[in-house]
Amino acid sequence: MAGPELTGAPLPESRLTRWRSIVSDWAADQRTFKHVSWGKSMMWIFLLSDTFIFSCFLLSYMTVRMSTTVPWPNPSEVFALHLFGQNIPLILIAIMTFVLITSSGTMAMAVNFAYRRNRRKTAILMLVTALLGAAFVGMQAYEWTKLIEEGVRPWKNPWGAPQFGSTFFMVTGFHGTHVTFGVIFLLIVARKVWRGDFDTGRRGFFTSRSGNYEIVEITGLYWHFVDLVWVLIFAFFYLW
């Protein structure tokens, strides 16, 4: 197949050749994404798949919210807290969101210190992240308890469409599970960092391969993703 390379004509930087070079870069030897480890590429692909799960959940929520004929409860009343003698709408959720976003910050710092092989600071920052995550789950548990006491159930609630409770518990529950797993993951990795596993090349139980500090970054990827999803859930459940 004689391409332009063989005919000697000058190569126009056409869009086609640019596409070709992208393709041949990607198709290159051994690794498609150079300098990306197996662990990290796995996490990215997993997150892509997980994105589809959350998208399906959120789209389903929107569909049932639109298909039901019963009025939807008003979020700024439902999610208000009675503090200092007045009802403050969305206050708890604002704190929860703040906590989770802060935890993304501490996570990013932990990754930074991990690459400098600063074991102490990395481990402490990861523990702080885990703590913030646990605080988030705790506040969510409080929110659930409060709603349940007010009579919200997956199949009914006092204010309107029963799908309110169903979607709320399902989606925040699924997200909360993600946060909980993240916290566990953070604790395990923080312990390994603390112990210096990644300096001595000790073999992990799960992978039977010796890990390195990159695992901190991979944990971070997951954590930021869970954060991002929360922002979407927040927008769709509390602000709509």
Binding site: M42, S49, S60, W155, A161, Q163, F206
Partner: protein
């Protein structure tokens, strides 16, 4: 036209060091809780075939009922529905998906891309055990009160979780739970397959030198990772509807004279979720089949695959398009006519890359030196059957044609041709082809011929007349047709004929199973490369390949997978790891 550019790129130095392998020490970690992809592949395959046998037996029972209504007294209408539901679900998910991706994927990916193992062996092992759990939960549903669900493999709500549908007590719960477990298990394996293909190849193995088998399995895995989430979400929500009494999919309705507690949900939502998974699922089983068939044809016709790059792009294009056609399964559910138009158009567009593939197979065969080995016979059978099913697909893709044919035997005939029989042919072909690598012995040729001809002719005897029954208007999922004015008496004779064919085909599968076990002991020793094939798995130092696959040195790849009958070469094939100075320069 030999695309020589593919074979002639210089080899880059190694980019990554060798990985450490996990070395098992006891019999249990070697053969039971094994982390070796080859053992996991065998475990996946055997489990899938075992549960597939159940699905096969169920199809005999349904066929028996259709031909000789009432002669088996235990098949009442509920039982009938339960049989077809379990038959359909097992065949599609637990047999085909698991066998192609968990079975062939695990065995072939590391070997064909020149890796020592999958990227994450431990996760890979968990994947199998989770799959086994899913299968056991599914099997358990045969033994619970009320039996397995009879909602049809599509599980459409609201009827699937309401009294009146068999298995609504426990069967549906176990079915949904089993699907959820399956998806979790599959995801663990799927991440492995994708990462290994993308990031774990041998030196010189560029993506554009990979055998099409790997392209097919890889693309199918990506589809699965993006399509199964929809089923997962649908299953979770339906489980809540059934167990907690939520109303995601349940409108307010009256059942058996009683107003139910449900209200306000959207049954159509489930259909969207289901088919957003369901249509890509067709390609999850079809793409590996496409890939494998390309390699079978090329090897057994001693000729390079025609238009390799086009084949790769066609696989990718089909994969992408398969996500935008799902609502062609919902023409009769009622939708905006413009949507119908959109989905009909996208459906027909898929025919283009698919047709390209078929042309390329035929052109590969055109000047080929066709050896009618059993894998080749099955590959040819696949092409014929797939074209057949694809053509009826074009009919059903059009809204106006689909509406009258929907829910008739025509649809049953169509999807059995295209995603039932055709991929099964490829599985058989692939088993005959790779069995020597797995065991070191050939499958018995004579039994193979018997198996092939009875299965091939039998499959047509079963499913060809079904098109006609469908055109007559014979509905699907009916326990008994009884006296209907539009179905003539003679249709019954056809039904008897089909059933006899089905039982014959079923019986010959037992011969195949026998062959699998018999040849393990008594088969002819095959040597390492009995088909004189080019791809890496045939170049392993030992057969069956040992733990770690390659002995001391990883292979280095110098050429694409299709150097058959290269002019000037000493042999009629050049293995992928054959340096360029050998034979042809």
């Amino acid at each position: 036209m030999v695309d020589t550019a593919i074979g002639r790129e210089p080899i880059a130095p190694a980019e990554a060091g060798e990985v450490e392998l996990y070395h098992p020490h006891s019999w249990i970690t070697k053969y039971v809780f094994s982390q070796d992809a080859k053992i996991i592949a065998i475990q996946y395959s055997l489990t899938a075939m075992a549960i597939g046998l159940v699905a096969l037996v169920l199809s005999w029972l349904t066929r028996w009922q259709l031909a000789f209504p009432g002669t088996l007294s235990f098949i009442d209408p509920s039982q009938y529905l339960q049989y077809i539901t379990m038959h359909g679900m097992i065949m599609v998910v637990y047999l085909l998906t698991a066998l192609f991706l968990g079975g062939f994927g695990n065995y072939l990916i590391p070997l064909m891309v020149g890796a020592r193992d999958m990227a994450f062996p431990y996760l890979n092992m968990l994947s199998y055990w989770t799959y086994l759990l899913a299968v056991l939960v599914l099997v358990a549903s045969f033994f619970v009160p009320g039996g397995p669900t009879g909602a049809g493999w599509t599980l459409y709500p609201p009827q699937s979780i309401l009294p009146g549908t068999p298995g609504y007590e426990w069967g549906i719960i176990l079915m949904l739970a089993s699907l959820i477990i399956f998806i979790i298990g599959f995801t663990m394996g799927g991440l492995n397959y994708v990462v290994t293909v993308l990031q774990g190849r041998a030196r010189g193995m560029t993506l554009m030198r990979m055998p099409l088998t790997i392209w097919g399995i890889f693309t199918a895995t990506v589809l699965a990772l993006l399509a199964f989430p929809a089923l997962f979400v649908g299953a979770v929500m339906m489980l809540f509807d059934r167990v907690l009494g939520t109303s995601f999919f349940m409108p307010s309705l009256v059942s058996m004279g009683e107003q139910l507690q449900y209200g306000g949900g959207s049954p159509i939502l489930f259909q969207h979720l289901f088919w957003f998974f369901g249509h890509p699922e067709v390609y999850i089983v079809a793409l590996p089949a496409f890939g494998i068939v390309s390699d079978l044809i090329s090897t057994h016709a001693r000729r390079n695959i025609f238009g390799y790059r086009m084949m790769v792009w066609a696989i990718v294009a089909i994969g992408v398009l398969s996500f935008v056609v799902w609502a062609h399964h919902m023409y009769v559910s009622g939708m905006n006519p413009w949507f119908g138009f959109f989905f009909a158009t996208t459906t027909l567009i898929i025919a283009i890359p698919t047709a390209i593939k078929v042309y390329n197979w035929v052109l590969t065969l055109w000047h080929g030196d066709i050896h009618l080995t059993i894998p080749m016979l099955f590959a040819l059978a696949f092409i014929v059957t797939f074209v057949n099913g694809g053509l009826t697909g074009l009919f059903l893709g059009n809204v106006v044609v689909d509406v009258p044919l929907s829910d008739t035997m025509f649809v049953v005939a169509h999807f059995h041709m295209v995603m039932g029989v055709a991929p099964i042919f490829v599985i058989f072909g692939a088993l005959y082809h790779w069995y020597p690598k797995v065991t070191g012995r050939m499958l018995n040729e004579w039994l193979g011929q018997l198996h092939f001809w009875v299965t091939f002719i039998g499959a047509y005897a079963i499913f060809f007349p079904m098109h006609y029954l469908g055109l007559l208007g014979m509905p699907r999922r009916y326990h008994e047709i009884g006296q209907t004015s539009f179905v003539p008496e003679s249709a019954q004779n056809l039904n008897v004929f089909i059933t006899i064919a089905a039982l014959t085909v079923g019986a010959v599968q037992l011969v195949f199973l026998f062959n699998l076990f018999w040849s393990l002991r008594y088969g002819r020793a095959s040597g390492g490369n009995p088909w004189r094939a080019t791809t890496l798995e045939w170049q392993t130092p030992e057969t069956p390949p040992p733990h770690g696959n390659w002995g001391k040195e990883l292979p280095v790849v110098y050429r694409w997978a299709y150097d058959y009958n290269v002019p000037g070469a000493k042999e009629d094939f050049l293995p992928q790891n054959q340096p360029p100075d050998w034979g042809t320069g």
